[in-house]
Symmetry: C2
Subunit: 264 residues, 2 copies
């Protein structure tokens, strides 16, 4: 029986420990191929490269696994994997990460890791983004690998249902302290921003983004809520940004030109 | 009476004709301030600049209007406007655009114009992104300005209800052929990608993204559906990517660690 083809990507770059961890897990479940950025791309959101050429370079980093580094964004990596490198094959699953740092709540919107997974989901591929709540290079991926293994196995067996994208976050505690997995919704939150203002050597002012995430959600059945209780959070996600509950209240903007007196 | 403060931004850059058109419209309704990228940032999605400093430069491009160009992404522009430049004032409305090109359907996800508007909505500001279905530099913004004027006026009077973000797209036809405004949902669609493959002067292969958008939505009550009938489309939008209808079907992933035999 042919093993399913699993595409692995990330946003921390192809040499990040997180992608190595994910490759090790994914290899247990299928034939793994890797296309990932050649440099860190955190916070790149759903950026694509329109005005510059992209390059791919085959690398020998992961034993016998076919792997390419790409000069573009995480989303570019997925597009090149799907439409150039493996266009004649069926990608059964795309996994992105394991990200060094949380992508819970609204961080899904800023995240290159999740944007890569969303891109592959837009292209019709079942996709999962994994993130560990530890920003450090030498994060301990033991717990994250254990649960990524369970989730990938289950998803390959049972399929993604009524969705084709999961946002998985893993608490930064030892494996034995992780209590389990909770399927839940994205928490409402906000970044309270600050900018560090300073002067460069030529006495010109510059600003550097910093800030603090604040959970605004009182409901505990959210990714943030369960992560705080040491559960792995799984948010079934999509790409429909329509706020359906606003369609009726906002209908005051429905205007027929034929009813207008003039174009003024 | 103090006029409401309206922040104008875009992704095509501060010298694009589209932002000039939007500034002209917004100035009819409030005190306008401008913070926009110093170079084109199309397709930058929700990218933020984490690893580099940002700079702001005051520019004198729009008569008496306070305007800054920024070295960052559209989202960076909004963050700097809200948290540095105008942190002591209340921004009543953020308008982004007028984009040169469509941001209907899933293009909201790739769009710097819509990501800027989404960022301000995340920060609690009522926000509207405007896009004209014409990519060219010398696009005719007459119809777009006319309808942007109507929408901004209505929104300032009646408020955004059950949402704080609108994705407005304007068909590329003469004003008199625009039939009116329709509030509707985001169409389901997909980019069918191709990459142009070529060799650089050093005989190295490069890839350049191209592609074609395909509307997959049979429902005509969508942004794409109404735009094709020469209506302005208005999609009330949000930032909750949870696919709520998948929460129950995906509950097979709910696992309690205490029920597991071992961490094996």
């Amino acid at each position: 029986m042919q093993r399913p083809l699993i595409l692995v990507t990330n946003d921390d770059g192809i040499v990040a420990p997180g992608i190595k961890a994910l490759i090790e897990v994914a290899s247990q479940h299928g034939e793994v191929v890797v296309v990932a950025p050649d440099q860190p791309q955190s916070g790149k959101g759903h950026a694509i490269t329109l005005n510059n050429p992209l390059r791919l370079r085959k690398v020998d980093l992961f034993d016998d696994i076919i792997a390419y580094e790409c000069t573009g964004t995480p989303v570019d990596c997925v597009k090149l994997a799907k439409n150039v490198l493996f266009k004649d094959r069926t990608i059964a699953l795309c996994v992105s990460g394991i990200n060094h740092g949380s992508n819970a709540s609204i961080n899904i919107i800023y995240s290159g890791t999740m944007s890569a997974a969303m891109e592959s989901s837009l292209e019709g591929i079942d996709s999962i983004g994994f993130s560990l709540l530890d920003f450090s290079f030498d994060a301990d991926f033991t717990g994250a690998k254990h649960y990524a293994d369970i989730i990938i196995k289950q998803v390959l067996e049972k399929g993604l249902q009524s969705c084709n994208l999961l946002n998985v976050n893993i608490p930064n505690v030892p494996l034995e302290e992780i209590k389990g997995i909770k399927v839940c919704k994205q928490a409402e939150g906000v970044w309270v921003e600050e900018f560090r203002e300073a002067k460069d050597p030529r006495d010109q002012t510059y600003y550097w983004l910093t800030g603090e995430f604040v959970n605004l959600d009182k409901d505990v059945n959210t990714d943030i809520g369960w992560l705080e209780q040491n559960y792995v959070s799984v948010v079934p996600s999509g790409h429909d940004l329509t706020r359906h509950q606003a369609l009726a209240p906002m209908s005051y903007l429905n205007i027929e030109q034929s009813n207008m007196v003039s174009h003024g």
